[in-house]
C-alpha cells in the first residue's frame, strides 16, 4: 500500500524533461525571493499582522503543483505563500493582499493567511490548523459528482496530524473514492515543539489504516516530490481514490518572522545542516549544471531577474490604495 519514494525509472524519466526542471527551479527561486521580500517588509514594519515564511520548503509546493492542472484545486495553510505562487498566483496581487490593499486577491480582507483565487483553483489558505481538510475533500466530491476530472490537493503541516477531523475526512474520502491527495509537509516543528513530542506511532500508518495509498518522499528533492505527486494525482484522476503524501522537509525560519531566538527548541547546528546540505534550490542548481541542462551564470541571472520582479511587485503593492472604509460591510453575504 505504501511506497517509500519515487522509483529510479520515474526519476530518470523526469530528468529528461528539461523544460519542467527549469520551470520548477524558477518557481522555487520565485518563492524564495518572494519570501525574502516578505521578511524585509515585515522587519521594516511595513506589513501588518503575521508572516509565516515558506523558505526551505519550496520543493514541496512546486513539485506537487507542477503535477496539477490549472483547474485542479488546492487548499493551503497559514504558511501558504509558496502554495499560492506554485499554483499560479501573481506576486503583485499577493503582496497587495499581504499589505491589506484593495488590489489584493481578497480585496485586502483576507491577508497573508487567507489568499484565495478561483482562477488558479486555489480554494484558500486557512489559518485553522487542518481547517481545510473538509474543503479539499468536498472539492474532490464535486469533481467526482460533476465528472469534470479534477483532483484536489490538501496541503497541511504535520501539526494538523493532531486534529481529529483529518481522520474523519480521510475515512470519508476513501468511502466515497474521492480524488483528493492529502499532502503532509513535515517540517519537524509544530510551531515551537518538535513533532516527535506530539505525534505517536507511524504517520503513514494513519493513512493506510483507512486504505489510502500512502507514500513518503524527500521534500527537499523537487524531482522526487514531482514524481510521487504525479503518480498519486494520476491515480486520483483515474478514479482510484484518495492518497496521502508525506513530504519530509524543513522550515529555515521561525514559526513566524518574529520567532528569532529558537535555541530552546532547535539548534543552530541543525538549521545549518539543512541549509547547507539539503537545500532544494542549491541541490537542483548543482544538478542542472552538472547535467548541463543549464549553466551557473544563466541560473544566477534568473535569480537576479526574479529578485527584481519581486521588488517591482512590492512597489506596486506599497503604492496601491487601501480599500475604502465603507467596504467593510461588503462580501459578508453573497
Amino acid at each position: 500500500m505504501s511506497t517509500e519514494m519515487t522509483t529510479a525509472a520515474q526519476l530518470s524519466e523526469i530528468s529528461e524533461k528539461t523544460d519542467l526542471l527549469l520551470r520548477m527551479y524558477r518557481q522555487m527561486v520565485a518563492i524564495r525571493q518572494f519570501e525574502a521580500q516578505v521578511n524585509e517588509l515585515y522587519t521594516r514594519a511595513l506589513m501588518p499582522g503575521l508572516a509565516h515564511l515558506y523558505i526551505g520548503e519550496e520543493a514541496v509546493a512546486v513539485g506537487v503543483c507542477e503535477a496539477l492542472e490549472q483547474t485542479d484545486y488546492i487548499t493551503s495553510t497559514h504558511r501558504g505563500h509558496g502554495h499560492c505562487l506554485a499554483k499560479g498566483a501573481s506576486p503583485d496581487r499577493m503582496f497587495a493582499e499581504l499589505l491589506g490593499k484593495k488590489a489584493g486577491y481578497c480585496k485586502g480582507k483576507g491577508g497573508s493567511m487567507h489568499i484565495a483565487d478561483p482562477a488558479t483553483g486555489n480554494l484558500g489558505a486557512n489559518a485553522i490548523v487542518c481547517g481545510s481538510a473538509g474543503i479539499a475533500t468536498g472539492a474532490a466530491f464535486s469533481a467526482r459528482a460533476l465528472g469534470n476530472g479534477r483532483v484536489a490537493v490538501c496541503f497541511f503541516g504535520e501539526g494538523a496530524l493532531g486534529q481529529g477531523v483529518l481522520y474523519e475526512e480521510m475515512n470519508l474520502a476513501q468511502l466515497f473514492k474521492l480524488p483528493v491527495i492529502y499532502v503532509c509537509e513535515n517540517n519537524l516543528y509544530t510551531e515551537y515543539t518538535h513533532y516527535s513530542e506530539t505525534t505517536a506511532g507511524d504517520i503513514l500508518a494513519r493513512a493506510t489504516a483507512f486504505g489510502l495509498e500512502a507514500a513518503s518522499v524527500d521534500g527537499q528533492d523537487v524531482r522526487a516530490v514531482y514524481g510521487v505527486a504525479q503518480r498519486l494525482v494520476d491515480r486520483g484522476r483515474r478514479g482510484d481514490g484518495p492518497a496521502f503524501m508525506l513530504c519530509n522537509t524543513y522550515r529555515y525560519h521561525g514559526h513566524h518572522v518574529g520567532d528569532i531566538n529558537r535555541e530552546y527548541y532547535r539548534s543552530k547546528q541543525e538549521e545549518q545542516i539543512w541549509k547547507t546540505e539539503r537545500d532544494p534550490i542549491v541541490n537542483l542548481k548543482k544538478w542542472l549544471v552538472e547535467q548541463k541542462v543549464s549553466d551557473a551564470a544563466a541560473l544566477d541571472r534568473l535569480q537576479a531577474d526574479l529578485e527584481a520582479e519581486m521588488k517591482k511587485a512590492v512597489e506596486f503593492a506599497v503604492a496601491a490604495p487601501y480599500p475604502a472604509v465603507d467596504e467593510v460591510g461588503e462580501d459578508v453575504y453573497a
Binding site: 486577491y105 480582507k109 468536498g138 466530491f141 464535486s142 459528482a145 477531523v165 470519508l172
Partner: protein, 335 residues
C-alpha cells in the same frame, strides 16, 4: 382559528415532516447539484423518517449515508458547495451542531468574506431543536442563537408546514450557508401546503394572528404555543397578535417594530436559552425601535438556564407553555 393570518391557502394538508420532504424532493428534481448527506439519511430516512422515499427516487449518489463524523461531512459539504454543488447536510439532533462549529463558524461563514467575495458557500444545514421529548440534556437543546451570532450565516426557524416547505426551498437556492432548524416536536403538525413550487423569502416576518392589545413575537414551536395562549387570552378579553420572524437572520425588524407600536406591549418567546439568546436580541430590537410607544417593559420567555433534565415534571417547567405565556400576557396587560 379563522382569525389566524396564515398565508397558506390550500385544501391539501401535509405534516411538517412531509412538507420538508416535498421541498427537498422538488429542489432535487429541479437542480441536479442538490444532494443530501448525513447519518442514516438514506435507507433509514432519518430516525424521524423525514427523508423517507428520497433514496428510492434519487439514488445513493445524491442521498448519502455518512459515518458518525459531523465535522467531517459538514466540512466536505463546505468544499462541495464552493465548487459547484448544493449540499443539504443533515445533523440529526441539534445538540450535535457543537461538533460542526469550526466548519460552520470558521469555514462556511467566512469563506466569502475572507476571499473578498471570490468564493461562495451555497449550502444548507438542516438540524433539529426543541425539548419535551424526554431525551435529556444532550438531545433537547435549541442552539440556534449560536449561529445567529456569526456574520456570514443565515438562520431559519419555520413554524408551520407551509413555511417549512417555502423557506427550505429558498434556503437551498440561497447563495450563502443557511442553518435550518426544525423543532422535532412539530414533525407531525399538520397544515395547508400547496402542491408545486413556491418559496418563502428569507427575511420576511409573518403575522400569524392579528390582535390589538399585546404582541407575542414567537419562533418555531413557540408560535404554536403563542397561538394557543392567544386563544386563551381571547376568552379573557385580551386580543393578542402573534408575529413570527421566521428567519433570525436576515431579520425583518420593521414588521416586529410596527406590531409593537400598534399593541404597546410585547412578549418575546423562543425555545433557546433566555440568557444571551434570541429573546434578548429581539427585545432589544423592540426596545430601540418602539420605545416611546411601549406601555410596559418587553418581557422575555425562553428556556430556563439549566441543562434540560430527563424527569418529565422537571423538563416541562424548563420551556414556556401556553399557560405560562397566558399568565405572563395577562400580567403585562394589568389584568
Amino acid at each position: 382559528m379563522p382569525e389566524t393570518h396564515l398565508q397558506a391557502q390550500s385544501d391539501r394538508e401535509l405534516t411538517f415532516a412531509q412538507a420538508i420532504r416535498e421541498a427537498l424532493a422538488e429542489e432535487m428534481r429541479r437542480d441536479p447539484t442538490v444532494f443530501i448527506l448525513g447519518e442514516d439519511v438514506a435507507e433509514a430516512g432519518t430516525p424521524f423518517k423525514v427523508l423517507s422515499g428520497l433514496l428510492e427516487e434519487f439514488g445513493k449518489e445524491r442521498v448519502l449515508d455518512t459515518p458518525i463524523s459531523e465535522a467531517g461531512f459538514t466540512g466536505l459539504a463546505v468544499g462541495a458547495a464552493m465548487t459547484g454543488m448544493r449540499p443539504v447536510v443533515d445533523i440529526m439532533f441539534g445538540d450535535f451542531v457543537t461538533l460542526t462549529m469550526d466548519q460552520m463558524v470558521n469555514q462556511a461563514a467566512k469563506v466569502h468574506y475572507m476571499s473578498g467575495g471570490r468564493w461562495k458557500v451555497p449550502m444548507v444545514m438542516r438540524t433539529t431543536m426543541g425539548a419535551t421529548r424526554r431525551s435529556a440534556a444532550q438531545h433537547s437543546q435549541s442552539l440556534h442563537a449560536w449561529f445567529c451570532h456569526i456574520p456570514g450565516l443565515k438562520v431559519v426557524l419555520p413554524s408551520t408546514p407551509y413555511d417549512a416547505k417555502g423557506l427550505l426551498k429558498a434556503a437551498i437556492r440561497d447563495e450563502n450557508p443557511v442553518v435550518f432548524f426544525e423543532d422535532k416536536m412539530m414533525y407531525k403538525l399538520k397544515g395547508p401546503v400547496p402542491a408545486g413550487d413556491y418559496t418563502v423569502p428569507l427575511g420576511v416576518a409573518d403575522i400569524k394572528r392579528v390582535g390589538e392589545d399585546i404582541t407575542l413575537i414567537a419562533t418555531s414551536s413557540m408560535v404554536q404555543v403563542a397561538l394557543s395562549a392567544a386563544a386563551l387570552l381571547e376568552e379573557s378579553g385580551i386580543s393578542a397578535e402573534v408575529v413570527d420572524p421566521r428567519t433570525m437572520w436576515p431579520l425583518d425588524e420593521q414588521t416586529l417594530i410596527e406590531s409593537a407600536k400598534k399593541t404597546s406591549r410585547v412578549i418575546v418567546l423562543d425555545e433557546g436559552y433566555e440568557r444571551y439568546g434570541v429573546t434578548a436580541e429581539l427585545a432589544s430590537v423592540i426596545a430601540t425601535g418602539a420605545f416611546y410607544d411601549l406601555d410596559a417593559p418587553v418581557k422575555r420567555m425562553g428556556a430556563m438556564h439549566v441543562p434540560i433534565p430527563f424527569s418529565p415534571p422537571l423538563e416541562d417547567v424548563t420551556v414556556p407553555t401556553e399557560r405560562t405565556v397566558f399568565e405572563a400576557a395577562r400580567a403585562l396587560c394589568g389584568r
